[in-house]
């Protein structure tokens, strides 16, 4: 139950991409029929993706995944609009693929000619449910602000951010707005026209496609520099020979997502509620992490008091259940995850953060199994815990 980390490629997706790994290996830039066959496949993939998020095919640029799309958005906009605009607004709970490029820009310092005066980044606080307050965005915007980047839904706690409200503000102020929708595309309705964003990132492996392929939506007219420089692929926006099998696969995954979406939402919400209710009923001293209702259907994040996340994960793994944690002990840095800290969780509670995430192959029987096994694990670990006094 770790579908937020990645998803198994849909069998139809694998089927669709296979010919492009075998006989249909043409380069879309070649003028011969092999090349043209590949080019047609790429354009078909673009249409399928555009159809899923309600935009024009020309507004889609294929990338190597969510990380590249996020880097593209940040660097593409800021390097185009500098030196007049040198300020970015984001939140403290973004994925590292947003935070790290921002940290990098901050460290870059003033341009040698003094013109750039360096880059500035504002990291907005969130409330205890992980929500960004749109009014905080408004207050942070200055005449130097180039871009606001707020994720659509958080990968750890599942909270869905008020993207439409923020978009109204950025539009009013004439600032570009990017959203990292890696956790939402193919999981809930993502309509760029309705959301009102200028830029949006997504990654195939989070919606039953393969790893290493994603896209960025760039609204027509958005001014950006090229991210990868080289050939003229992707209308001069991203050089490199297209990942044809990947594009065919993400297109297929998008097409399937479109038809399965309401079913997916219904099913995962149902399973999640069953899981939440069962856990709350069977285990004392736990609570739901993230917003109770403004949350991704698939995300079941909880805080289990008095026990540590890695030891819970290891026990779950021994029972054949995959999950994840934001505990300090399981991170290479030995610090609790930045998301868990940003929502104001105490150090002790942050140790007990556990995320189950559901997907299309999970069943009620599996949820029942977790509900049977997990309370015993917690009980065993709590018996060992010096924090819990009899």
């Amino acid at each position: 139950m770790d579908y937020a980390a990645t998803t198994p490629p849909h069998p139809d997706v694998v089927e669709a991409m296979l010919p492009y790994l075998k006989e249909k290996f043409g380069n879309p830039s070649s003028l011969h029929s092999f090349g043209q066959e590949a080019k047609a496949a790429v354009e078909e993939g673009r249409k399928q993706v555009a159809n899923l998020i309600n935009c024009q095919p020309e507004e889609i640029v294929f990338t190597s995944g969510g990380t590249e799309s996020n880097n593209f958005a940040i660097h593409g906009v800021i390097h185009k609009l500098k030196p007049n605009k040198n300020h970015i607004i984001t939140s403290k709970i973004e994925h590292h693929a947003i935070l790290e490029p921002c940290h990098f820009l901050e460290k870059e310092g003033p341009a040698p000619d003094g013109a750039g005066a360096g880059f500035k980044v504002t990291y907005l606080d969130v409330d205890e449910d992980g929500l960004v307050n749109p009014e905080d965005v408004r207050a942070a915007i200055t005449d130097k602000t180039a871009l606001v980047s707020i994720m659509h839904a958080n990968n750890e706690i599942g909270t869905i951010e008020p993207i439409k409200e923020i978009a109204k503000i950025t539009k009013e102020k004439g600032v570009y707005f990017h959203t990292d929708a890696v956790q939402t595309v193919g999981q809930i309705d993502v309509d760029v026209a309705d959301l009102g964003v200028d830029l949006l990132s997504a990654s195939a492996h989070k919606f039953y496609g393969p790893k290493g392929i994603g896209f960025i939506y760039i609204k027509k007219g958005t001014r950006m520099t090229q991210f990868l420089r080289g050939g003229s692929q992707e209308r001069n926006r991203r050089a490199s020979t297209e990942n044809v099998p990947g594009i065919v696969a993400i297109g297929k995954a998008a097409e399937i997502a479109k038809t399965e979406l309401s079913e997916r939402i219904k099913k995962t919400t149902e399973l999640r509620e069953m899981l939440f209710n069962g856990l709350l009923e069977k285990i004392p001293d736990i609570r739901i992490n993230g917003h109770r209702t403004k949350r991704l259907p698939k995300n079941a994040a909880i805080i289990v008091k008095y026990v540590e996340g890695e030891s819970m994960l290891l026990n779950l793994d021994l029972e054949g259940i995959a999950a994840s944690t934001g505990s300090a002990c399981s991170s290479g840095s030995l610090e609790a995850s930045h998301v868990i800290r940003a929502i104001g969780t105490s150090p002790e509670d942050s140790h007990g953060s556990i995320r189950f995430s559901l997907g299309r192959l999970n069943t009620k029987e599996e949820v029942k199994y977790v509900l049977e096994v997990f309370p015993k694990i917690v009980q065993k670990l709590r018996a060992m815990s010096p924090l819990r006094r009899k």
Binding site: E348, A383, M384
Partner: protein
């Protein structure tokens, strides 16, 4: 999940030895891990300078649980002096090694043990373990 744990670590993690508290312990150790914020408690019974029983409670990762389990195993039946020579490295080695990022968890186990002996010495001789400074544990 961190790098793979050895079979021995997993074995102690699955079936930790000596979990719990001792009634009327002769020495109690309570330490917090300054690195990641975990907590370990160790209890010892001492008779004629020999540790006759040891128990622990741990709030921490798999390595913390396994090292406290192994540490209690290693010191049972040992004299105070012998127990003091049980270092975190010895505990880690007895477990077939630990991933490098998890070595500090074995330090916690060594600290908990020293803290228990320090408490025992204070109670019996009025003087603690020379040079022992338990890590401050702030939560």
């Amino acid at each position: 999940m961190p790098e793979a744990y050895s079979n021995k670590v997993m074995e102690h993690f699955k079936n930790p030895r000596n979990v719990g508290e001792l009634e009327n312990p002769d020495g109690t150790g309570h330490v917090g891990n300054p690195v990641c914020g975990d907590i370990m408690e160790m209890y010892i019974k001492v008779k004629d300078n020999v540790i006759t029983d040891a128990k622990f409670k741990t709030f921490g990762c798999g390595a913390a649980i396994a090292t406290s389990s192994m540490a209690t195993e290693l010191i049972k039946g040992k004299t105070i002096e012998e127990a003091l020579s049980v270092t975190n490295k010895a505990v880690a080695e007895a477990l077939g090694g630990l991933p490098p990022v998890k070595m500090h968890c074995s330090v916690l186990a060594e600290d908990a043990l020293k803290s228990a002996i320090d408490d025992y010495l204070k109670k019996t001789t009025g003087k603690g373990l020379p040079g022992f400074k338990p890590h401050d544990h702030t939560h």
